[in-house]
């Protein structure tokens, strides 16, 4: 299987100790696209950082959601919480260490906010390598 024809959506408790579930799911999706090991490793890190940033920004959240789709041969990953934010992103979010790391490891990272005001972070992974 080398495509994700159906988007993956995973909901976990908005707790740091649930982030490893999202890391594994994201790594599994990256593996399906035949990303090299180091790229899969960095998808894990980026998902972790996005989760940390959202948990820091949404202390009242109950649910952290991971959504993965494919786009132009790479993964489009979105993490969001279930609680609308009054301000998103805050200046501190943009200046956070997590955001700095996400920017360094992913393509086109963005803070996004849905119509319902739920804060989200979206980024794209590297394109899959072509193995000989």
């Amino acid at each position: 299987m080398d495509d994700l024809s159906t988007p993956i959506t995973v909901n976990v408790a908005a707790r740091p100790d649930a982030l490893h579930i999202l890391r594994v799911v994201a790594a599994s999706a990256a593996a399906l696209l035949q990303l090299p090991f180091d790229a899969v490793d960095e998808v894990r890190i980026a998902v972790d950082e996005a989760g940390i940033l959202l948990l820091d920004s949404s202390p009242d959240a109950d649910v952290l959601q991971l959504e993965i789709t494919t786009s132009d041969g790479s993964l489009l990953i979105t993490l969001r919480t279930d609680v609308p934010a009054t301000e998103w992103p805050r200046a501190s979010d943009r200046e956070s260490w997590s955001w700095t790391v996400i920017q360094g490891l992913t393509l086109n990272p963005r803070f996004v906010s849905g119509d319902d005001g739920r804060p989200a972070i979206r980024f794209r992974t590297r394109s899959p390598m072509k193995t000989p």
Binding site: R15, D17, F37, E95
Partner: protein, 263 residues
């Protein structure tokens, strides 16, 4: 981070409390004041096979040690000192107990197998292998490889952090003598003090990854250590910078400001 979890500031009379030690009331107040920092650091290590309650106990113990060992006359922020001490205590906890007790033997074996297979394939292919290739070579499922990846990162034995490369070359030789001139880009400037506390090798790796845009494989070839080692060092370095930043949060002033300059 919730308000109640926000690390306390060094200001607001903390130094005065340190000067009152070993007064039990002052010690208790200091511990209570900086408990949110300990709890926050404990949660950062959650999800790696140890219960959060256990991690909080370890972090609290680290905080107690930090309070008892802190010397306010040395010009170091207590939050910085405490973050390093608590993080060290948590890492020791994992080194001492995590791998051998909490991780199922089968996962330990898979992790070691994946580690060895990655090295072999990396050498053979001259590039980073895919999960599929690792799974095929190691005769594991892809799911098992991914589980092993998480385990490897969470439970790196101290020996893997040894400051020599696989061929025995001293790390100082492999990275050269010049300090990589960190051209701190916007967004990194605020963490420059934390970055400067990283060892030269780790700084160089972050520089190559984040500023030069090199892949882990390319960095591994440049520095002369394995890709798995690079992966681990990147994760650990990011964590160290984060801990350092957490330790300096909430002070409301420049992290480099000398202790004596605060009101």
């Amino acid at each position: 981070m919730s308000g109640e979890d926000r690390p306390a500031s060094d200001a607001d009379g903390a130094l005065e409390l340190f000067r009152r030690l070993p007064d039990p009331a002052a010690r208790e107040e200091l511990v209570e004041r900086f408990l949110p920092l300990a709890r926050h650091l404990a949660r950062r290590f959650a999800g790696r096979g140890e219960s959060l309650d256990d991690l909080i106990q370890v972090a609290d113990l680290g905080l107690l040690n930090a309070v008892d060992r802190f010397d306010p006359d040395r010009g170091v922020q207590f939050t910085t000192f405490a973050a390093v001490t608590i993080t060290g205590e948590l890492k020791r906890h994992f080194r001492d107990r995590g791998w051998s007790i909490r991780v199922p033997r089968s996962l330990q074996e898979s992790a070691l197998l994946v580690h060895g297979t990655l090295e072999t394939l990396w050498q053979d292919l001259g590039r980073s292998p895919t999960i599929t290739e690792i799974a095929r070579q190691a005769d594991l499922t892809e799911e098992a490889v991914i589980e092993a990846m998480d385990a490897i990162q969470a439970y790196s034995p101290a020996s893997l952090d040894a400051a020599v490369s696989e061929d025995g070359t001293a790390m100082s030789e492999t990275v050269g003598h010049a300090d990589p001139s960190f051209e701190i880009a916007e967004g990194w400037a605020s963490v420059a003090p934390a970055l400067e506390k990283l060892p030269l090798r780790e700084r160089r790796i972050l520089y190559l990854r984040f500023f030069k845009g090199m892949t882990q494989t390319e960095i591994a070839q440049e520095i002369g250590i394995s890709q798995m080692h690079i992966s681990r060092l990147i994760s650990q370095s990011l964590e160290r910078v984060r801990s350092e930043i957490r330790g300096t949060e909430g002070r409301g002033h420049d992290a480099s400001e000398p202790e004596g300059n605060r009101g």
